[in-house]
Symmetry: C2
Subunit: 389 residues, 2 copies
Amino acid sequence: MANVRGGDLSRLRQLNALAAIRALREAGPLTLTALAERTGLSRPSTKEVVDELAGLGWVEEVPPSPGTMGRPARRYRFRADCGHLVGVDIGGHNIRAALSDLDGEILAETRQPVRPDDPLEERLAAIERAVSGCLALSGRAASDLWLLAAGTTGVVSPEGRVQFSAAIPAWRGLDLAGELARMFPCEVLVENDSRLAALAEARRGAARGARDVVFLHVGRRMGTGLIIDGKVHRGFGAAAGEIVMLPEARWYDAPDHLNTCAVVPPGTPDEDAAGFTLAAARDGDPAALAAVGRYVDDLAVGTAAMVLLLDPQVVVLGGGFSRSADVLLGPLRERLERACVRLPEVRASALGDECVVMGAIDYAVDHLDRHLFTPDAGPSLPLPQPAGR
Amino acid sequence: MANVRGGDLSRLRQLNALAAIRALREAGPLTLTALAERTGLSRPSTKEVVDELAGLGWVEEVPPSPGTMGRPARRYRFRADCGHLVGVDIGGHNIRAALSDLDGEILAETRQPVRPDDPLEERLAAIERAVSGCLALSGRAASDLWLLAAGTTGVVSPEGRVQFSAAIPAWRGLDLAGELARMFPCEVLVENDSRLAALAEARRGAARGARDVVFLHVGRRMGTGLIIDGKVHRGFGAAAGEIVMLPEARWYDAPDHLNTCAVVPPGTPDEDAAGFTLAAARDGDPAALAAVGRYVDDLAVGTAAMVLLLDPQVVVLGGGFSRSADVLLGPLRERLERACVRLPEVRASALGDECVVMGAIDYAVDHLDRHLFTPDAGPSLPLPQPAGR
DNA sequence: GCTACTAATGAAGTGCTCCTTCGTAAGTAT
DNA sequence: ATACTTACGAAGGAGCACTTCATTAGTAGC
């Protein structure tokens, strides 16, 4: 039981203001009557609420839609642009950043190439450049930022410390949340990248609308993200999704099947090898198809464990190899069909490389929704003065 | 985003009444001033709310606590006895039922022995007898029941139909929720038994207070229940937790290690065999210890998959073999320690055979809380006329 | 270009809920 | 018996939302 707090009249007003904001965010610009219908309030009350919100800067009037019968109604919209969010994807080879408004609408994106063995300072500097780039592209200042969410490879502690990262050696033990908080004058969230990717697919990608989603990052490294009941599942120690560590799940070495196929030209570096095999498989090469078969055999074991355990609505295939989803999806479905009680939908990522940044943005939007736009939670409305442009 | 509904003054009153009820349920009998403090309302308002609730029958006055300074304050309590819930555990060999008040406090319990191959009608009649027994023991009528929650072995569809049950052949395809609704004049919920057991352990058993719990039913049949973020996890098709179906998890045949041990007297029926091995292991018999070791080896594989995937706070060992938890816990912890990123607490069930009935009650209480005692949900308060005794 | 119709606006009046304040009541300590 | 402590109950006041009605600003038809 969460709240046992009652409230007085001003709380009622707050509730109604929140309801109005939610309605406007969901349904775009609305006339007073439409808004009144949605919120269940009378028109005069709605007007008063909207006036107050307009005074605070949360809501503004837009030109009425012409061509209607009768007197044209004034229309209002939520000012999603009164605050800004940043999402960052910290990968081994790239740092991506995106800036969005409060609705998660992307306004600017940047990318900074890095190398896995770059020293710590260089990598942090690249993050700073990526975010600054977004601010510059969209003409905002760092002080306009309300919230920054970052996704990184590796196991991230509940407090935002990187426990371990195979892809970025220098990252180990870093207090990433602390470093980011020093760099940017706003609240900072840090999460594992696969979890954010899962969230993005569940919100705007291949699994839109699903409440229970399993995201598989298939690539040279394997990773998973779980969305359960619409929320990112972290686990008690924020270590959920590490099934790749289990030898019996046969994930850890699964990519080797693709790397060691005969169609890979000798001397190809490991990181490019799988691409040859997947491409050859698409062209029907028997050796490549066999290798892909063995790969999917292994992939399906861990996946079946997840599906049997969680019974998700959708399984999303993301990560580097998901560019070859056409080659992988069929075989994977077939094996899951045999192993599982109920076959979930199995789809390829719809967001590709943007997955993690998008997820970071969505994660930030969620955070905001929970802490600002939800009754019975946090300081509620009039806190972050929405600055006019 | 759930609700975009605003509200008027009466809604505010409803909110405050709900807050009062929640406070009273959480903290037992309270004086007006104490209640006012908890709800954040002024004393006069609290009084008015309490008077209204008393008039509706939700709240009643109890004698003031004597021996205090100043004028003794009137005290009020939530009338948990104004409605009743029934939990039913439908197992292969036993039907258990329990009757509780609205707080989940058990008032009566009964058990009806059945046989796995009993015909459908006989089993349904046994359920009726078990519940009637509870009603008789506590002196209530069937019309006092608000809600019945039943747990059964097997896969249960979201609508309460039994898809499949290995333990109760006659159960397959049965519209259990429908049958129960015909038998009892109240709302009916049906869920898988391991999930309910998990809920009970998370609410009042070995994992009390934990939000993420994995419950392992270890016995002649294996089963699992997941509590995620404090709620029962069903999955999209209500088929979550069926990891036993995966050969690589090595659960399905795991009990064979115990059945085929040399310490089991020849001719022992399969269902009693494991008991001999576990008992011998407790006495230090080397052959039995080796068999238990092999059993836990297998058990640990599927368990590690669950732990790695979900990172729960607690793993609870329940089911028939959990009576020998002292023999199992140590080896299981040791193997999980090696396999997992973070070792969760591993504990034996605290509720034993009562697990599922308790879980059914807790499930019913949860349902009530969500649909009756939560703002923004359902018809809210004054619906089920709380009948006076 | 004028009139009829439509739909939104704005202001006035009403009712409900909660708040604060103050005098009264019912106990215990000295 | 008196003083002190704590709770109760009534009265007055403020805030919020509701309903109602006259007014305004458009479109459609003649």
